[in-house]
Symmetry: C2
Subunit: 690 residues, 2 copies
């Protein structure tokens, strides 16, 4: 029994009314679920979750993920009542320009919001990542302490609706959560049988709990609908949450049967309450049903607010106890304590430049293989770096050798031995889920995750990549097999449009190194920036360029683009720009052109986003405005390059899907040859002159 007083009940009624009022004032939004879930949210925020209204980044806090992000008021109202930083005026400013209460919860924008949600299913999938991240962090910092006694033990609570459970991304992540036995994850599914098109009978008739049982989850039902009168039985919900906590080797789902918008007089149980304002009359009726004054809006009694904001005082007690445990842990673990400080600050260890391998000029190695070597070199000094692949570990070169898998030990296979605190992640063939999980791991705060798949399947995870970019979290996508260089697997496996499509995304750095040396520099630049990046790597071997000799510059990857080889005259007639595996074509074409007396500069451009960040003088030094003869060469669509080559430029690109054949044949047949690049240069010179 949670023992709610009359004040608690009034606070819940107030929460419902505030949700209705806020939507009514702006004229649009999602009141229904915020109304019916108010008791559950209040229970979590006031009675169950461990958190501190005065410090929304407290390490010891439970995490709350509102996967049903459209119901942002479910969270905003509690952040207001609990005193996390929102005030009544913020609720009044819902969904308006510059407010702290945008339509969907936004990470980094509103205190107490752990994650940006809205695209359905993604919050749940990222919550799986948070639960995994929490375990890994505990393993790095405090593996010996018994479960439940470490300052790094806490829970991840998720609230989802029907829509979240229809999305495939939640299926992917939930299945993996079962395999991973994430006992620290508790999902409350708001089973109200309503989505935007109305009754879920038309599209969602599966036995959800049966499905979750099949995934290996612990399942419970709390039924507020029942057969007779609707009853918001928070004691039953609290008991279910306690039972979920008691199960430490399975994630838990609690099916909470509700009536959307209850007790709204005419719109309860209807999708009319889902995504539109209720209307003045209905809001008044709701307030009457709640025992509130139907005439008043945004009405919060001082006693109610004083009661709910007493959460801060209660939190202080719990926090003090936690701080004591942390202090004891720090005293007993001085090295780990220093590590914790470094991880909290998101500072990398010093000296990484000396740690990464160098690659011998004239040798040949695929950038995916070089990436694997770099990861292995970072394994020791950067313990917060971890990751894996969507069932392509060997192809993506994402495994740090000798590191155990992150896996309940009894799941170990012949190929991969695991421990619960292991490092190598196995996502299965689940790219979208992987992306969301990586976001969740990064958002959990202390570690730096990466995940690999074939570049073409960046399409499958684009929704999650966008959320990395929207939130600006330090996730690294390792995308190998980056062009028609994939070869025999054919068009379904050969990316053509993906460089363009991902460069179009604000906030994402797309990094395509030209050789192994650039690959090492790329990893360091990515880690230092601590922001979303896609590392785009070849399947096939590439020559390692000499560096600082034979005219070749060092790998200035951090500036995005740089002069790799200057024209012999020092003043270029034409500039050849390439990325990745096509830079070698530019280098070879330069030789031909120089032999013809054409002064030719080669620019390697591993990351156009970073190049754009440079000042105008630097950019001009790489691509001088008065050198209008320019050729870009990249084994993908030309779209990103018009900007750089200009009116007189030429682009050696691929404007159609690939084919099934060996890579060498494909490059030749599709025109990716030094001869073709040289010819394009001559044409561009003619255009610039003419």
């Amino acid at each position: 029994e949670v023992g709610w007083t009359d004040l608690d009940l009034r606070a819940v009624a107030t929460a419902k009314a505030l949700a209705a009022d806020a939507v009514e004032k702006v004229g649009n939004g999602h009141p229904g679920t915020a109304i019916s879930l108010a008791p559950a949210a209040y229970l979590l925020y006031q009675n169950i979750m461990r958190h501190d209204p005065s410090d929304d980044r407290w390490l010891g806090r439970d995490r709350f993920v509102l996967s049903a992000g459209h119901s942002s008021l479910t969270q905003y109202v509690q952040l207001f009542l609990g005193g996390f930083g929102l005030e009544l005026s913020d609720l009044e400013a819902l969904r308006t320009w510059g407010s702290l209460t945008p339509g969907h919860p936004e990470y980094g924008h509103t205190k107490g919001v752990e994650i940006t949600t809205g695209p359905l299913g993604t919050g749940l999938a990222s919550a799986v990542g948070m639960a995994m991240g929490a375990r890994r962090e505990r393993g790095l910092l405090d593996p010996e302490t018994p479960h439940g006694e470490s300052p790094f033990d806490h829970h991840v609570f998720v609230v989802s609706g029907d829509g979240c459970l229809q999305e495939g991304i939640s299926s992917e992540a939930s299945s993996l959560a079962g395999t991973q036995e994430l006992g620290n994850l508790i999902l409350i599914w708001d089973d109200n049988r309503i989505t935007i098109e109305g009754d879920t009978s038309i599209s969602f008739t599966e036995d959800v709990l049966g499905r979750y049982e099949a995934y290996g989850w612990h399942t419970q039902t709390v039924d507020w609908v029942g057969d007779g009168e609707y009853r918001e039985d928070v004691d039953a919900l609290a008991a279910a949450i306690q039972a979920a906590k008691d199960v430490t080797d399975q994630p838990s789902i609690i099916r909470l049967r509700t009536i959307i918008a209850w007790p709204s007089p005419t719109k309860q149980g209807s999708h009319d309450s889902h995504g539109s304002k209720l209307g003045a009359e209905e809001v008044a009726g709701l307030k009457t049903a709640l025992g509130l004054d139907p005439e008043k809006s945004f009405d919060v009694s001082p006693e109610v607010l004083a009661h709910t904001r007493a959460l801060g005082e209660r939190a202080k007690v719990e926090r003090a106890a936690w701080e004591e445990r942390l202090a004891a842990w720090r005293a007993a673990n001085p090295e780990r304590s220093a590590l914790l400080d470094r991880l909290v600050a998101h500072e990398l260890p010093a000296g990484l430049d000396e740690v990464v391998p160098t690659f011998e000029a004239g040798t040949s190695i695929a950038t995916r293989a070089a990436s694997g070597k770099v990861l292995n070199s970072l394994a020791g000094p950067v313990p917060e770096l971890w990751g894996g692949s969507a069932d392509l570990a060997g192809s993506n070169n994402t495994t740090m050798s000798g590191e155990p898998s992150f896996l309940p030990a009894h799941r170990s296979s012949h190929e991969f031995a695991g421990t619960e605190y292991g490092r190598t992640l196995h996502f299965g063939v689940r790219e979208h889920g992987m992306g969301a999980i990586l976001n969740g791991i990064a958002l959990h705060g202390l570690t730096r995750p990466y995940g690999g798949t074939f570049f073409v399947f960046s399409d499958f995870m684009r929704g999650a990549v966008r959320l990395s970019a929207v939130q600006g979290v330090g996730v690294t996508y390792v995308w190998t097999h980056d062009s028609i260089g994939v070869g025999e697997d054919g068009p379904t496996h050969q990316p053509v449009e993906h460089l363009a499509a991902l460069r179009a995304m604000p906030g994402l750095s797309v990094v395509r190194p030209a050789d192994a040396t650039e690959t090492a520099a790329a990893w360091l630049a990515i880690l230092r920036r601590d922001a979303p990046a896609g590392l785009v790597l070849t399947r096939q071997n590439l020559p390692v360029f000499p560096r600082g000799e034979q005219g070749f510059a060092g790998a200035d990857v951090d500036r995005g683009a740089y002069v790799l080889l200057e024209a012999s005259s020092g003043t270029p007639d034409v500039v050849l720009v390439g990325t990745g595996s096509e830079v070698q074509l530019a280098v070879a074409a330069r030789e031909t052109l120089e032999a013809e007396g054409i002064a030719t500069r080669v620019v390697s451009a591993p990351c156009l986003e970073w190049f754009e960040e440079q000042d105008a003088a630097y950019r001009e030094s790489v691509l001088p405005a008065d050198v209008r003869a320019r050729v870009a060469v990249e084994a993908g669509v030309a779209m990103p390059w018009y900007r750089y080559v200009g009116d007189a430029g030429r682009i050696v690109s691929l404007e159609h899907f690939g084919a099934s054949a060996d890579a060498a044949t494909l490059f030749r047949e599709f025109g990716f040859t030094p001869e073709h690049v040289a010819q394009a240069a001559r044409e561009s010179l003619a255009a610039a002159a003419g």
Copy 2:
């Protein structure tokens, strides 16, 4: 009992050896599953499926979908043995330039291949679409005939591996298949517990059949592994398939427990056999285990081939019976018979220009609403057109009013009454599954599907959209809420980069009409082209331009871009190009500029892909080379526009994510105003002059 003779057993052994030989010869590929699944594939092709080797487009055929597309040899070998057009030389040319046997099955490339597969899970999801399409087609042509007796009754067989079932897209589609009670769908899941990273214990431990039971599927297990000796019990598999057929109100999954690559001597049961050649010694060992000559490669005995190619004769008998039934149906249904001919020819009815609504100049309507009106106007004359939404029907305006939902009648809701042959599709919140299902419907052959969601969630379905484009199938994506015009829902719901990202995709037409008139023309152009298209529509109202008066041209959408408003002088100083909701800004800016004496042309560019198809003279007439002052305006990233505006051009674009506020505020704050467009024009004029 299927009663296989020694010749059948030798044929299966030959199939296994051919799979090993083909991979061995080219040096790469996926032999393991093709070896272990050979008996199942042979059973399907030789004993179970109804098809005609002499006519791979026979309307009466069962459909076969190899969702595990990497195992293309599973299908190629049967297409060879059954005489569907592949010969031994084609198997010898596996995965080489120009061959009929590419790495993954490609629709339109190899006879007998119904669908391009390879990206895991997509084949299974599209098979759900095929099963739905089959039902709709039957409903259009032969609804009264009892089940099992119509010439339009047949089955869709799918073979998937573990990977397909891990992908969220298959979860989405499978759940919907349960709701839809697709009794004509039979999935054989090759449960070999091996994916690329080895044993599935590390990432895939769920109870798959439990999950499918929860979806409402009929589930069975056929265990060839057992406790003792491995036994390829085809009789048990045949019995299970018969049982699956007998269940007519549920889709069926048959879990087939196999050992990958069996009886390969040392690599059976190992992921080493999954995606690499076995090696000469192992291939020899395999042949020895199969009772074949280990010295011989691509060895097919004439008796075996004669036996398997007798399939053609057996098919003739069945086909003749079917043709009789079809003839009887034609005689009894002359109108439907004519409809069938039209549908088979993929010809639209005449006179559609007169059918679609016209919109009054000066009124204001969102293009999504205009699209809804167009769809309603086409409902009668174009019965093959059908579709729905991923739970956003009201927002996407995808419902043809008065048409029943495609739904088992007992699933009907208060909002949507359904029949098994209904027209309105309800996909649930499952964008990726929707895309694959639309592909399956279109590939099934006779109908023209469309599906809607918010434009921002095109990200969630990008893998399926790419497969529309790769295959060139006539699927229309209705993407509404196409910019920051979404308003209050904020950055997670506001597309910014999506126009660029989708235009980057070869083979997809991205169509963004500027007003209701263009929307009607866009629908007609899309239907006439019968190729993949995304129709990108506003949430917010847009003015309907006058047409053929006040200087405004007609809506020449089919040419992709056209002069909407000529400069008053007839010779433009500057050209303003816009799409969708931003064309009105160009029109308003033109007024300002003309008042300043700047001759200004406005070009509306609803589809850049179609514009690129026009001849050079037309393109020059729209964007004359000597008018270097150009401005593009579009509420998205600038990337696609550099090509069109050139060195002196300016682009009014959005290079960051949106925000939560009303749409008018966002357009103003982010610079989408006539003033800003006019200013960009002045800057471009200066640049062109300077």
